[in-house]
Structure formats: structure tokens, C-alpha cells
């Protein structure tokens, strides 16, 4: 990947090329926010921003996991189903009377286990990530309805506290505890990617797996690790979703993997791997969140416009990444 391209010209043109996509996403986000503020009076309320985080927190956590996978050049289609399965399992276990802490531990173990198994299948048997995680997606979604066809409500005290507790200022603006968890996940993930050996290995494998192997990097271990991380993030996302909805529904999160992949791509991560940042992914999720908020504020536009706009944005960003020369295979 291109690291820096120092060309003659104005100062702004000398930005490292790999930072450009993230900056463009940031600019887009600011423009969209400005449009919102100029059009709707209530949009400038701080709570609007907080709500974007509250409503899309679980999506952000899942997208962070997906960023790891995509950075190695893989893909994880199972995330939406794993989110649903985690929420479903916790609701089911709570209903059958297990203590909240135990449920939390079990629910947080399922996702990474599935991710670990998928990573092993991908690495040891050399099957395409697309197919393996597709099977994982079917498995997890099947497990959801296997547990129950109907949605299970959660009445547990710990869950309701997590759902309803508000951290806010005297003027009434607030965030939920989930948002703090989300921010913690983002910070940890960004640290791991940027400053640890694992993070460097992830970038190296995404750049060129052959070279990474020849350099003696642990390709297999890293590849299995990223799918496990993605599974863990999906599990955390599932828990957050169950805090948010206070139930486990078998059909929740259908098609979520697409939103997540779209957010990661809009955030400037290249799908062939090797280039991208957690910060970009955060921006990508925020862009999706702000689009939804704008469409809700407008009122006259229907929900399907969200999909069309996301599709259009995906196209624009991919085209843009090609134009500035980040190479797609």
C-alpha cells in the first residue's frame, strides 16, 4: 500500500494518501450534520448526537470486529446472526432463571467460540471465508429459532438497570451505559490495531499474506484471531442489543452484516485488506446513523430511502477510493 506520496503542490495535497478516505468521510459527516442543523431546528440539540450513539452502539461494536476481519482481506457474514443468537440465548437463559452474571459470561463466550471455529475452518481447510461465515450465519440464525420462534422478553433486574440508567447532565441530555461500553470497545480496538503486535500482523496479512508468511509472521494464528475477535464483538453487540430492546427476537439483525460492511467501507477500509482505521469505521457508522436521523426528521421520506442512500454512498466512496488510487484487486 502507498504510505506517503509527497508531491509538489499546496500543503493539503501532501496529506498521506491513506488518510484521505477517512478525512473525506469526516467531511461528509460534518456536511450532513450541517445540513441537518440548517434544515431542522431541533437537530442542533446535543441529544440528537447522543441518540445516534445510543441507537447505533451495537452496530458500532460489530463494525469494529468486522474492521479487523476486513483488514486481513477476509469477510464475516455471520455477524448479524451471531448478534441475534447472543441476544436470544441471554433472554432464554434469563427466563429459565440463571443469575445475570453467569448469563453474561455464557453469552459472551458463544460468539468467540463460533468465530474461533470459523477461523480454524478458514485457515486449516483453506475454505473461502465467504462460504464458511455464510454457514456460520445459517447456523446462528437457525439456533435462534431453535431456541424459540417468538421473541422472549427480558425482565431481569440487571438488564433493566443497564437499559434504563441514564448518565446525563442537568439539562436533560443523557447517554446510556451501553454507549460507555461501546466507547471502551472502540478505544481498546484502536489501541490493539495501532500499537500491538497483533495489530501490525493484521495489516501485514491484509497487505500481502504471502509476504507476511515469508517474513515469519504467524499468519494462521492471526487469521483465526480476527474471526474470534469479530465473534467477540458480535457477542458484545448482541448483549448491547438485548440491553437496548430488553428482549431476544429470532429475526432481529437480519441484513445487519450488510449495514456493517457498508459502514466499514464508507469508513475508508479497503475490502481487499491492508488499509483502514477503527476511527474510519466509527465515522462510517455515524454517517449511517445521521442518514437515518435525517430521514426520521424529514418525516415525508420513507424508510426505504435509507437503503437507496446507503447504496449511493457506497458507490460514491468506492469510486472515490479508486480515483485516489487505493488499489482494489
Amino acid at each position: 500500500m502507498t504510505t506517503t506520496s509527497l508531491t509538489a503542490g499546496p500543503r493539503w495535497a501532501r496529506l498521506p494518501r491513506r488518510h484521505v478516505p477517512v478525512l473525506v468521510t469526516l467531511a461528509l459527516l460534518l456536511v450532513m450534520y450541517a445540513v441537518g442543523v440548517s434544515q431542522y431546528r431541533a437537530f442542533s440539540n446535543v441529544q440528537v448526537i447522543f441518540n445516534v450513539f445510543i441507537d447505533n452502539g451495537f452496530l458500532l461494536v460489530v463494525a469494529v470486529g468486522m474492521t479487523f476481519v476486513i483488514l486481513t482481506g477476509g469477510i464475516d457474514l455471520s455477524v448479524g446472526s451471531v448478534v441475534a443468537m447472543t441476544a436470544m440465548v441471554s433472554a432464554w437463559l434469563l427466563q429459565s432463571g440463571l443469575p445475570a452474571l453467569l448469563v453474561l459470561v455464557i453469552a459472551l463466550l458463544i460468539g468467540p467460540t463460533l468465530g474461533f471455529l470459523m477461523g480454524c475452518a478458514i485457515h486449516y481447510f483453506d475454505i473461502q471465508p465467504f462460504i464458511v461465515t455464510l454457514a456460520g450465519m445459517f447456523f446462528a440464525r437457525g439456533m435462534c429459532t431453535f431456541i424459540s420462534d417468538a421473541s422472549i422478553p427480558i425482565t431481569d433486574g440487571f438488564w433493566t438497570t443497564m437499559s434504563q440508567y441514564r448518565i446525563g447532565d442537568p439539562r436533560g441530555n443523557f447517554v446510556s451505559i451501553s454507549v460507555l461500553i461501546v466507547l471502551a470497545v472502540v478505544v481498546v480496538a484502536a489501541y490493539v490495531l495501532a500499537y500491538t503486535r497483533l495489530g501490525r500482523n493484521v495489516y501485514a496479512i491484509g497487505g500481502n499474506p504471502q509476504s507476511a508468511l515469508l517474513m515469519g509472521l504467524p499468519v494462521g494464528r492471526t487469521r483465526i484471531a480476527v474471526y474470534t475477535i469479530s465473534g467477540l464483538c458480535s457477542a458484545i453487540g448482541g448483549i448491547l442489543l438485548s440491553f437496548y430492546t430488553l428482549s431476544g427476537a429470532p429475526l432481529i439483525g437480519v441484513g445487519m452484516e450488510l449495514d456493517v460492511i457498508a459502514a466499514v467501507v464508507i469508513g475508508g477500509t479497503v475490502l481487499t485488506g491492508g488499509a483502514g482505521y477503527i476511527f474510519g469505521t466509527v465515522l462510517g457508522v455515524l454517517v449511517l446513523g445521521v442518514i437515518q436521523t435525517l430521514i426520521t426528521f424529514d418525516g415525508s421520506l420513507n424508510s426505504w430511502w435509507t437503503k437507496i442512500v446507503i447504496g449511493g454512498l457506497l458507490f460514491a466512496f468506492i469510486l472515490f477510493q479508486r480515483l485516489i488510487g487505493i488499489r482494489y484487486k
Binding site: 483453506d126 437457525g142 429459532t145 467501507v265 449511493g312 468506492i318
Partner: protein
């Protein structure tokens, strides 16, 4: 080695052996579970029975999977087929529902032509993104997969359009020569694609583009044009499948028509032995794959398990078939069986496969 052992080896390593074996096992398990499973009866001059149902219901999947096979053989993938099914079905149903006489043949054919035209345009859009602009296929088609659902809902305005048109219904439920019409449509499409690719050089050209696009271009093949073409073909196949799906239920639902069909189609292609890396394709294997998936679905329904739980079984089958077909897994298995590491084993069955192909 004896001659019989050689023949046994040849059968076992034939690329269609495992798909056929899985299908036979599925059918056998069904017959054991429900003895009347394979019986076919004649009623009103039409054939009825579970096998006929499986064939009829697998018709849309076969169509989509045919297009998908060609796309995958060029090393690409088309995620947008489900959305294209929904869009084409929605457009056709919308046109018919607005007509005064829904049984008018002209109306139905205009509707089909309009929907096919839109599908052609959508396929061309995918094709241009991949071949001209050079975007990675999985993302290029992801755009339309996400936006396409929105477009389909835009066409139906978020409603489910119901129609009452005899000729349109016939696409999904009509009969011809005692068999459901859908089977003939799928068969016709399969024969057409097989004839065009295997009786002419087209198939080989597509495979060569999938093997190495640049090398094919240097050898004088218009690689970009071939890549463009397969996406258009895939979109048209998806559109016809979309007609069948909407005709089956006489209504168009922008949200649910053709949902997950792209995943089923990719599965059918992979089960059929076509590698996702491209460079080779097996239409017969794809059709077998589609039949396996539909048989599995029907089996699960027959056992009174909810359709969503059926996904569990699908996951098991997918993993089993992929593992069996993965050279790495076969090598590990045979190494363990023989007890000694023999590095030559993984390459041996593959060579045979290529000779027999």
C-alpha cells in the same frame, strides 16, 4: 492396483460424486422417514407428488444459480441477484395490477418485457462497475444488493402488490405436458446456457478469463466484454426467477421476494464443484446443488420444523460438502488414514479430476 480398484477410485474422485451422493442420501432418508415420499400420482392430467414439487420449487434457484455459475467462473460474484428478483417481480406486478384486464396476454408480455429491460440495465450497471471501472465484484454488487431492496420497495411503495392474472400465474404454477411449466423454463434456460457455453468456444473463453484475465486479454480475448456479459446474463436469469417467485404467490413483496436467494445460489454453485476462485465451471453440478438445497428445504418442512431452523441443517450440509471438497481436508484425511505423511496425495486426485473434466 487392480482394474476394479482403479474404476472405484475414478468414480470416487469424479467431481459430481459427492453432490450426487448427498442428494441420494437425502432422498433415501426421506423415503425411510416417509415411505410415500417418492410416489407420484396423476391428477387432472397433471403429475403431483413431492419429487415434482421439489423440481418446481427449485426452478427459480436453478435459474439464479445458472447465472451465478457464469459470474463465479470469471472469478466474480453477484450478490445483487436477490434484489434484482425483487425489482423485476415488483415492476411486472405493478404493470399488471394497473392494467384494466389483468388476463390480457399483451399486458403480461409488456410487463415481462419492461421488467426484463430494467434487469438488463441493472446487470449492465453491475457489469460496468466490475469490468470498466474495475471495482472488486463483491462490493460492486453489494451496492445494488443494498440499494436494490430500497428500489424494489420504492416501486411497490412499501406495499405488497397482489395481482389476479391467469397468464402471469402460469409462469409459477402453470402446467405443460403434465409437468409444471416452471420446470421447463428452468430446463430451457439450462440447455440454452449449456449449449452456448459448451457447444461453442464461449465457455472456454469465460473460463480463460476467470483463470487469468490479463493473459486472456493478451491472447486476444476481449476480457472486459466477457466479464460485462456474465453480469448481464446473471441479472436476466435473476429477473426470470423473480417472475416465478412472484407468480407463485401472485403478489410482489419488495422486502421478502428473493431474500437470501443469492446465498442459496452461491451455495448451489459451490456444492456443484465450481471454485469461487474462478477459471472453471460445472453447470450440471450447479443444478444438482440447487436440487440438494431445495430437497433439504422440503425435507425440513415435511418434518414440521420451522423454516428458520432449516438454516441449521443447511449450515451442516454446507460445511460437510465444503470440507469434503476442500483439497486440504482430503489431504489431511487420507494422510491420517494411511498413517504416514504422503505429500503426493493431495495432487493426485486433482490431476485425475482435470482429466475427467
Amino acid at each position: 492396483m487392480t482394474d476394479a480398484k482403479n474404476r472405484y477410485q475414478a468414480v470416487l474422485s469424479h467431481r459430481l460424486f459427492w453432490p450426487v451422493a448427498v442428494l441420494v442420501v437425502l432422498l433415501a432418508a426421506n423415503t425411510v422417514y416417509r415411505p410415500g415420499f417418492l410416489s407420484i400420482e396423476v391428477n387432472n392430467g397433471h403429475l403431483y407428488g413431492t419429487p415434482i414439487d421439489i423440481l418446481r420449487l427449485s426452478a427459480p434457484l436453478i435459474l439464479v444459480a445458472l447465472g451465478m455459475t457464469l459470474v463465479i467462473s470469471t472469478g466474480g460474484i453477484d450478490l445483487s441477484v436477490g434484489s434484482i428478483c425483487a425489482i423485476s417481480g415488483a415492476i411486472a406486478c405493478l404493470h399488471i395490477s394497473q392494467a384494466a384486464d389483468q388476463n390480457n396476454m399483451v399486458t403480461v408480455f409488456t410487463a415481462l418485457a419492461m421488467a426484463l429491460g430494467v434487469a438488463l440495465a441493472l446487470g449492465a450497471w453491475n457489469g460496468i462497475l466490475v469490468s470498466v471501472i474495475g471495482i472488486q465484484p463483491i462490493i460492486a454488487t453489494l451496492i445494488l444488493m443494498v440499494a436494490g431492496r430500497g428500489i424494489a420497495q420504492l416501486v411497490t411503495e412499501g406495499q405488497i402488490i397482489t395481482i389476479n392474472s391467469g397468464p402471469y400465474r402460469a409462469i409459477g404454477l402453470g402446467h405443460f405436458l403434465t409437468l409444471p411449466l416452471a420446470i421447463f423454463i428452468a430446463l430451457g434456460a439450462a440447455l440454452l446456457v449449456a449449449g452456448l457455453t459448451r457447444r461453442t468456444a464461449l465457455g472456454m473463453i469465460i473460463e480463460s478469463v476467470g483463470g487469468n484475465r490479463e493473459a486472456s486479454r493478451l491472447a486476444g480475448i476481449r476480457s472486459a466484454r466477457m466479464v460485462f456479459l456474465v453480469y448481464v446474463v446473471s441479472a436476466v436469469c435473476a429477473a426470470i426467477a423473480g417472475f416465478m417467485m412472484t407468480a407463485n404467490v401472485s403478489s410482489a413483496d419488495g422486502n421478502n421476494a428473493g431474500l437470501w436467494v443469492e446465498l442459496d445460489a452461491i451455495l448451489a454453485v459451490v456444492i456443484g464443484g465450481t471454485s469461487l476462485a474462478g477459471g472453471r465451471f460445472y453447470l450440471g453440478g450447479t443444478i444438482l446443488g440447487a436440487l440438494i438445497i431445495q430437497t433439504l428445504t422440503t425435507t425440513v418442512y415435511a418434518m414440521n420444523i420451522s423454516p428458520q431452523t432449516a438454516l441449521l441443517f443447511k449450515a451442516v450440509v454446507v460445511i460437510a460438502v465444503c470440507l469434503i471438497q476442500a483439497p486440504a481436508f482430503r489431504a489431511k484425511l487420507s494422510r491420517r488414514r494411511r498413517g504416514t505423511p504422503t505429500p503426493s496425495t493431495p495432487s493426485a486426485p486433482r490431476q485425475k479430476e482435470e482429466v475427467s473434466a
